[in-house]
Every structure is written in C-alpha cells, then in structure tokens.
C-alpha cells in the first residue's frame, strides 16, 4: 500500500476495469481459434491469433495503466460504473471486428464494427458478405459474440472475479441489468451464466437431434444446433446462412426455435425464481402477463389482416409465416422465414406497423432481449390507470397501487417517471433513425421498420440494411443498437464525461 495520493483516480479506475473486461473477452477468442485449428482452417486460425494478441495486449496495457485501482483499492462509484460499461462496449466493438476484417468478408472497418455491434447487442443484422461460405471459426465467433452480448460482457467479466470488488454492482448496472438475484453481484453474474449454459447444452442437444432428422450431417447438425441455439437464447437472430430460418425448411426446427427465443426473452430473475421452486411466478409476474397479452393481440391482428387479404391462406402457413415473425420481432430475436421484400410488398402498412410495435415493445428487463421492455409498458399503463382512478376517487382517499415482479412492489411516481423517460428516449431515437432513413430516400414504412429493428435490437430487415447503404446511416444504426442495448444512461454518462473533460481543459 502506498501513501502517495493517486492523481486522476478516474483515469485509473476506468482504465483498469475497461482493460479487465477487454482482457476477459480477448481470452474467449481462444474458442474460435481452437475451432479453426480443429477444422484445419489455417488462415482463420491466424486471424484469431492476431486479433487475440492485439486485444490481450491492449487489455493488459490498460490494466497496467490503471494498476493503482487495485493497489490503492479505489472504489467505483455510479458514474464510473456506467462509463466503464459504455467504454468497454465501444472498445470491444473495434477489437472484435479484427477477425472480420482479416477474413475479407467485410467491405470496410465500418461494416465489421456494424456486425460486431449487431452481435453484442443481440440485434442480428448482417453486413458480412458471402455468409454461406464463412469459415467455421468465424461463424463460431459471430455466434459467440451474440451469446456473450446477450448475457452481457460485464456480467461475464464479473463472474470470473477472484474476490469481490467495491462497486462491481455499479458496473453491472451500467450494462442495462439491474436485478440482484443474490446479494453478491459476483454470484448473481454466475447464476445468469449458469442458467444460460444449462440451456445451451439442453437446447443444442435438441436442435442437434432435430437437425439430423431433417437431413443434416451429424457435424453440420451439431454446429447449426449450437449456432442457432446461441442466437435464439440470446434473442440475437444470427444464422450461419443468408436464408436464415428458411434454410431448414422445417416446421419442427421453427417451433423449437420459438420455444428457445420465447424462453430467452424473460427476465433472469424470473428464471431464477422458477428454478428456486416459485412456479407461480410464471403466472403472477407482470412482465409475463404483459408479454402474453401483447403477443397474442399483435399475432391475432396480423393473422386477421394477412389471412383476409389472401397473403397466407391456411392456419399452418399463418402460424409459420406470421406468428413466427411477430414473435421473433416481439422477443427481439430477428430470426426470419420470409424474405425482406415480402415484408415490403406483401405485408402492407398494417402488417409493417404491427411489426414495428412488436419490435419497439420488445422482451423483458434484465434479459437478453431489447426494446423498451414489457415491464416499463406495464408500469406506465398501471400509472395511467392509477391517475385516472385518483381523479375519479374522493379527494381524501389514498390508493396504493402494486405490481408483482419477483415480489410485490408499490407503484410510486418515481418508478413511473423512470419507466416513461426510458420509453420517451426509445421513441425519440426511433424517430431520429426513421428520419435519417427517409432523408436517404427510403420509403417511410421501410425506414420505420428498419429503425424499429435497430432501436429494439431485433434484426429483422426490410431491405434497407446492406453493404451499399449510406455510411452515415450505418453509423446511426450502430449508435441506435448501442443506445438501445445499454438503455441510454451509460452512453449519456460516457458522453457527459468526455464533454466535461474537454470543457475543463479547453
């Protein structure tokens, strides 16, 4: 322990923990590296050696620069927690795109960054070229990114902590997760990973068997099963081929993916409660109720309109083409089994609007899903009902409104305000992104569809996203995915910190 006062403690704290998270993710590049070696893909293996070396060196260097954090036991406060989470996501976006660039499958650094951010945020939009001929190593990396991103990079790094660090919870919250399953955040992070890994084994096994039944070779069925499960559970939407779910031509495969992405979209707190034996939570939880109502309503509306207009004529095709895509949008997964042009040409304005609403609402808070979340919709809805009841009640009466989410919670004005603010931020981001799409000449419905897809971290495309799209639009989409995933606050904190620093030294 040294007695000298640390100069610029903020720099030390941010550098150390950002470096720690980067180092943790860099080590994981060993998995695609081993995959490449096993598959005798020597060039991709070399790509991963280079990428891993660069990332490990940068991570270690940052930890070294901020080493006083450890020796002087500097504490992380809320501001730093948010900044570390936001900064590590940006740095990892650049570092994790190196294998893409070296593979020659992306046209530019921007396209590589777009795909990495799409993976991390579990969006699923793709700018990678010639997707059907990617190496196994790069495919493994793409799907790992979406699986890690779903659970959270910070969550992963925290679960490997040797000892508890002061303020770990604040970094964890910076990643848009705010639920403590157990009092210690390190064990909370481990529980999140435990649930996901158990599902990973179970789901991959189920899809592996199904893949072999539909005619894939055992190795191919295993790899496809692993990739698709990682994407489904993380509500990601990546697939190892350009045709996405249409590649499999299988009703059984589609139903299994529905089960997995529907299970991937609830709150980790809900999973943990059920695994602790509290089975009634599945019925009582306000987020489950909200998802049940909105998904049934939106599916019914879309089926009603599209079956009436003769686009899909029987119940099976309605379920496979309409309900599948509505659920995929609502859980923010992004698996699709209709072509982008079909959304534009066959679904009509009503169908597109249903999809936009589903994508914006999204899944559950503290889950792998995006969107402004069912919990916030329920809270604001209950807040409105409460205000109406207050107006209609005698002036002296006091009403206590509750909602059930893991436990009974009292609905106060602060909670309603916080939820409404996040929804407003999402809507403003959606509007700006739509506006930019229309500025570049895309029709309003298509711009809105794509904007909802990036803002809600969904990944379904109506055809706007492509390598030929304007660079500024790609940057806006990256920003929208990033803001949507981290739920604004962390990114605002990072911007505020940088702008504050510039003003101070100007």
């Amino acid at each position: 322990m040294t007695n000298t006062q640390v100069r610029f403690p903020s720099f030390h704290i941010i550098s150390y923990y950002t470096g720690y998270i980067i180092f943790g993710i860099a080590v994981l590049m060993g998995i695609p590296l081993i995959t490449s070696l096993l598959m005798a893909e020597w060039n991709p293996a070399l790509d991963f050696v280079i990428s891993m070396s660069v990332s490990v060196i940068i991570g270690l260097l940052m930890m070294l620069l901020g080493r006083r954090t450890r020796t002087d036991e500097l504490q992380v406060d809320w501001k730093f927690g948010f900044i570390i989470a936001a900064l590590s996501w940006i740095m990892l976006m650049f570092l994790c795109s190196i294998p893409y660039l070296l593979s020659g499958h992306t046209k530019s650094l921007l396209d590589g960054c777009f795909d990495v951010m799409s993976g991390f945020t579990t969006t699923g939009l793709v700018l990678t070229q010639n997707l059907d001929h990617l190496s196994t190593g790069l495919n493994m990396w793409r799907h790992m990114l979406t699986f890690i991103g779903g659970q959270g990079m910070v969550v992963l790094a925290l679960s490997f902590l040797g000892k508890h660090i002061g303020g770990a919870y604040k970094i964890y919250c910076g990643e848009g997760k705010d639920i403590k399953l157990v009092p210690n955040v390190k064990y909370t992070a481990r529980i999140i990973w435990k649930i996901s890994v158990i599902y990973l084994f179970t789901g991959t096994l189920a899809l592996w068997i199904c893949g072999m039944v539909i005619g894939l070779s055992p190795l191919s069925a295993f790899l496809h099963g692993l990739y698709i499960f990682e994407s489904a559970w993380s509500t990601g939407g990546f697939a190892p081929n350009t045709q996405n779910m249409m590649y499999y031509h299988s009703f059984a495969y589609e139903v299994m993916t529905i089960v997995f992405f529907v299970l991937g979209s609830p709150n980790f707190g809900l999973h943990y409660a059920i695994w602790q034996g509290k089975k009634k939570e599945m019925i009582k939880n306000v987020e489950v109720q909200s998802f049940f109502i909105t998904s049934f309503l939106l599916s019914a509306l879309a089926v009603l309109k599209l079956s009436q207009s003769g686009v899909y004529t029987n119940a099976v095709s309605c379920f496979r083409r309409i309900v599948y895509n509505v659920l995929s949008a609502h859980t923010t997964t992004g698996f699709g089994n209709v072509y982008a042009a079909q959304f534009a040409n066959e679904w009509g304005d009503f169908g597109i609007l249903v999809m936009v609403i589903a994508m914006l609402i999204g899944g559950s808070a503290c889950s792998t899903a995006g969107g402004f979340k069912g919990l916030r919709v329920s809270i604001v809805f209950k807040g409105i009902i409460s205000d109406v009841k207050k107006i209609l009640s005698p002036e002296r009466s006091i009403r206590v409104i509750k909602y059930h989410h893991i436990k009974d919670n009292v609905l106060d004005d602060g909670t309603v305000r916080a939820s409404a603010l996040v929804i407003v931020c999402y809507v403003v981001l959606f509007a700006i992104t739509t506006l930019l799409g229309t500025f570049y000449g895309y029709p309003l419905a298509e711009s809105a569809f794509e904007a909802a897809s990036v803002t809600g971290n969904v990944g379904l495309s109506i055809g706007v996203t492509g390598a030929a799209a304007p660079a500024l639009l790609k940057v806006q989409y990256i920003l929208a995915m990033y803001l949507g995933r981290l739920e604004f606050l962390s990114v605002f904190a990072l911007f505020g910190f940088v702008i504050g620093g510039i003003k101070k030294h100007a």
Partner: protein, 34 residues
C-alpha cells in the same frame, strides 16, 4: 442435491409452459384463419 432437482424441475416447467404458449397461439391462429 435438492438444488439440482429444483433446477431440473424449473427447466422442465419453463419448457412445458413455453410449449403450452405455442399451442395456445396455434389454436388462436387456427380459429382465425381456418
């Protein structure tokens, strides 16, 4: 041991609920689009 049993039961419960949910959705579609 008891934890393991709870976890297996929890996993099965979730999968069964998700399957029931899919079935209910299909029934709804069948009613609308038959």
């Amino acid at each position: 041991m008891r934890n393991k049993k709870n976890e297996v039961e929890g996993l099965m419960t979730e999968v069964v609920y998700a399957a029931i949910y899919c079935g209910a959705l299909f029934a709804l579609v069948f009613l609308i689009a038959r």
